[in-house]
Amino acid sequence: MAQSVKKPEKKFVDIGLDEGAARLTTDMIQQVISRVLKGETSAYLKAYVDTCVSCGLCSEACHYYLSHDKDPYYAPVVKVKQTIWEILKKKGKVSPEFIKKASEIAQTECDLCRRCAMYCPFGIDVADIILIVRWICYMLGVTPQYIQDIANSYSVTMNQMWIKEDEWINSLQQQEEEAQNEIATLRIPIEKEGADIMYSVISPRPEFRAQFIYKAAVIMDTAGVNWTMPATPGPDNSDMTIYTGDNEIMGRVKKTHFETAMRLKVKKILMSECDSIYDIGNKWLGWKWYPIEIVNSIEFYYELLRDGKISIAKKFEEPVTLHDPCNVDKGSALYKMARYLINATCKEFVEMNPNREHSYCCCAGAGVINCGPHWKMKQMHGSKIKARQLAATHVETVIAPCHSCYGGLEDVIRHYKLGMNVRFLSDILYECIEKPRVVIDV
């Protein structure tokens, strides 16, 4: 691998980084770093760094590296070298400018997709290392403005979009009314204690993808699922503070989420189509696994269809392809279930290549899309390989069972003028399932 490390992108302006770094001194930096890098964190970080032989095999795994014509600057090992290695080598004696750069690399040049971990002969997880860099930068107050604002939103509302309690409930009620124009008896049951399922979503609001609640409600109503949604803070299953390094708010959001499920005495939490690295917050709190079982929507819909609780009335006519979200695939075998659903609902399915756990990241995940418009072009340049992959399918519909991927792919399609549209799995299911109680509103 070439050793020269240059940064080809133009300078980006972000007050979260610029003003945050301006408030720092080298002493402050050293103190914070020594606080973070101790105990267990220090031990496994040292193991990673001591194990890495700089072979560069991780490079070919990284969509940023591939999208930038194999520029070594974007190789995972170089990202690590430019951040934590320097921090360790200099025992935390690094400059504010260094921290600003480290934050930019960690927050906007790595989606924590973990593809590189599969290519590393030692299995070094660069995502873990980058998360520590993000944590250090957060503790130093150097986090991109937009994602810090999202973290602030979580701290107040427990959701990522500053949705107030009344707006949330009102949004559910509006969705229910809209759905009743189609199915007169359909309900979105709010605060139903003892339901089997608590449906958790990524803070929607009426003007932003609220329709997926409506569609999920239709699917669950058709399948006769005993479900509910809370009227209190805690419905949001994303927890973007995982990605900023604000562990305390991450824990608080997760605590609220699971305590809401415990209060409602539900048996399971159904997670909307989401690729969040979900089991970090619960571990910070001391829960080894989820205290209340979490079911991913892909698995949930798969079981409904497999068990005959929903049936297919018609098939989706247009050829479709599937984007495999990174954590859905690397964390489990859900990709098989996604394909089962697509093959059952769509006339023609065209695989993207590579796919499943080898799929390229959408370049939006792990908070990259949430860093705001300052970084949008950087995200687009990092997704060139994804755009090529999409174009090679020659289909017009891509299914993305994840909100970040959905948004990221919309951006990619627009930027590269691919002429495609993005759908959730629930969009396809909603269109294709037998709905026994259709009412035409006259």
């Binding site: 007050i15 979260g16 003003e19 105990g39 503790m139 107050g141 403005q145 937009y146 810090q148 604002d149 602030n152 701290s155 107040v156 509302t157 500053w162 107030k164 309690e165 009344d166 409930i169 009102n170 009620q173 008896t185 309900r187 049951p189 709010i190 605060e191 139903k192 204690e193 003892g194 009227a231 209190t232 803070p233 604000d246 305390e248 824990g251 608080r252 605590k255 699971f258 305590e259 415990m262 005495k265 048996k267 571990k283 709190l285 001391g286 829960w287 080894k288 696994w289 205290p291 209340i292 079982e293 705001g372």
Partner: protein, 419 residues
């Protein structure tokens, strides 16, 4: 006030309502609520397009509404609902809507004696509280965590007093939120305020606060504890009103602090849900003695019994000598009392209830689609479609069971020896 003194405790079973028939009478029937004394069962029903009502023991309220949600019985048996007419929302109590209506109303809460009812409101994009049909008057940019005092005369909420644009991360860090007891904001703002608690005499107020992005502590009537911590959880007052206890995170471990000083000499992987015994002599809390293990600590001493998944709904007995909780181990729920788990496990378990004499513990539990009551680990051999928490008679010899069986709602009073 212990209302159960006034209830009918005559042993026997009485059919209160044939709820199964309601589905034939109305377009739809929502999940029912039952009054604390078991005498009434109520559900929101749809009468026609855009017409909703509440059916109580088979009879509907005199007024229809455009929309109704969140029916709840208060401790004194009054039935509230959040109702909408022509786009405006208010609270209806036993079918009578309050005179004042708002752009939106939510989160109905009751004083312990049930006499006072409060809810949060939105009017003209501003937020406040309404108590017994009277608004605080003062409105704020946002509101959450509505809480009512033990005497029912005071309310408090977390409020936003400073406006800031979305994305203004530095303004946010200056502190835009505070607590507003009775609508009067504390004179100091914080980055965040959560977990509000009134003292038992209703005179003091404690809250967990974040003073910067990295510093957490407890504020009592706006005054901060001397030390800050890397995190805290919600505080509680001691029964004598003198102490405030809160979990605090110190050097990546959790312990319990009282009035700002650490009072337990042990630290745990996690600690929350602390409660005082009724006489204030003991403190119990949910703890994780190590990662992935959950139990109760009383006075800082962990129980031997641990649960892999969670512990919740901790309660002291009235005499303060026992502690009970619901817990889940390897996916199965049970009840644990004084470090001893009940033998049976369940798909779900609700908060255990002590008898007034502290000698017996009952809990609602669920298996598959059915629910029953378990007393001291022994199940009642009835399997109900719906069931509410058991209530012991004032002398502790009987238990009130409120249950729907075969589509009919029954009020049962059984001697506990019959279970």
């Amino acid at each position: 006030m212990l209302y159960s003194n006034c209830w009918n405790w005559e042993t026997g079973t009485r059919l209160v309502a044939n709820t199964g028939n309601w589905k034939a009478k109305f377009e739809w029937v929502e999940e029912p609520n039952v009054s604390p004394d078991g005498e009434k069962i109520a559900a929101i029903v749809k009468i026609g397009k855009g017409e909703f009502n509440v059916c109580v023991n088979g009879k509907i309220w005199g007024n229809h509404f455009d929309r109704i949600w969140h029916t709840r019985f208060g401790p004194a048996g009054r039935l509230t609902a959040l109702v909408s007419q022509k786009g405006k929302w208010t609270v209806a109590v036993d079918g009578n809507a309050w005179k004042n209506s708002f752009d939106y109303v939510w989160n109905t809460i009751f004083s312990p004696n049930g006499e006072n009812i409060a809810a949060t409101i939105r009017q003209d994009s501003q937020y406040g509280v309404v108590v017994n049909d009277e608004s605080w008057g003062k409105m704020f940019y946002d509101i959450n965590n509505l809480t009512i005092s033990p005497d029912g005369k005071r309310t408090v909420a977390v409020v936003q007093t400073v406006a800031f644009r979305k994305g203004d991360i530095f303004k946010f860090q200056e502190g835009c939120y505070t607590a507003a007891p009775d609508g009067k904001a504390w004179d100091r703002n914080f980055v965040n305020v959560w977990g509000l608690a009134f003292s038992p005499n209703s005179k003091k107020l404690a809250a967990e606060v974040r003073t910067s992005l990295y510093d957490y502590t407890v504020a009592v009537d706006g005054a901060l504890w001397q030390d800050t911590f890397s995190c805290v959880w919600a505080p509680v007052f001691s029964p004598d009103n003198k102490a405030v206890a809160a979990p605090v995170r110190v050097a990546d471990k959790w312990t319990l602090a009282e009035n700002g000083k650490q009072i337990w000499d042990r630290k745990f992987f996690q600690l929350w849900g602390q409660i005082y015994s009724p006489d204030g002599s003991k403190l119990a809390a949910i703890i994780a003695p190590k990662f992935g293990k959950w139990t109760i600590a009383v006075g800082g001493h962990p129980w031997i019994t641990t649960f892999s998944d969670l512990i919740t709904d901790v309660v002291f007995s009235p005499d303060g000598n026992s502690v009970a909780a619901a817990g889940r181990d390897k996916g199965r729920w049970t009840i644990v009392v004084d470090d001893q788990s009940w033998k049976d496990t369940y798909d779900m378990a609700w908060q255990p209830v002590f008898s007034p004499d502290s000698r017996n513990v009952a809990a609602k539990v669920g298996k598959k689609e059915y629910y029953t009551i378990v007393i001291n680990g022994k199940p009642w051999k009835h399997y109900c479609e719906a069931l509410w928490n058991p209530v012991f008679s004032p002398n502790g010899n009987k238990v009130l069971i409120r249950a729907i069986e075969n589509g009919k709602y029954y009020r049962r009073v059984l001697p506990i020896t019959k279970i």
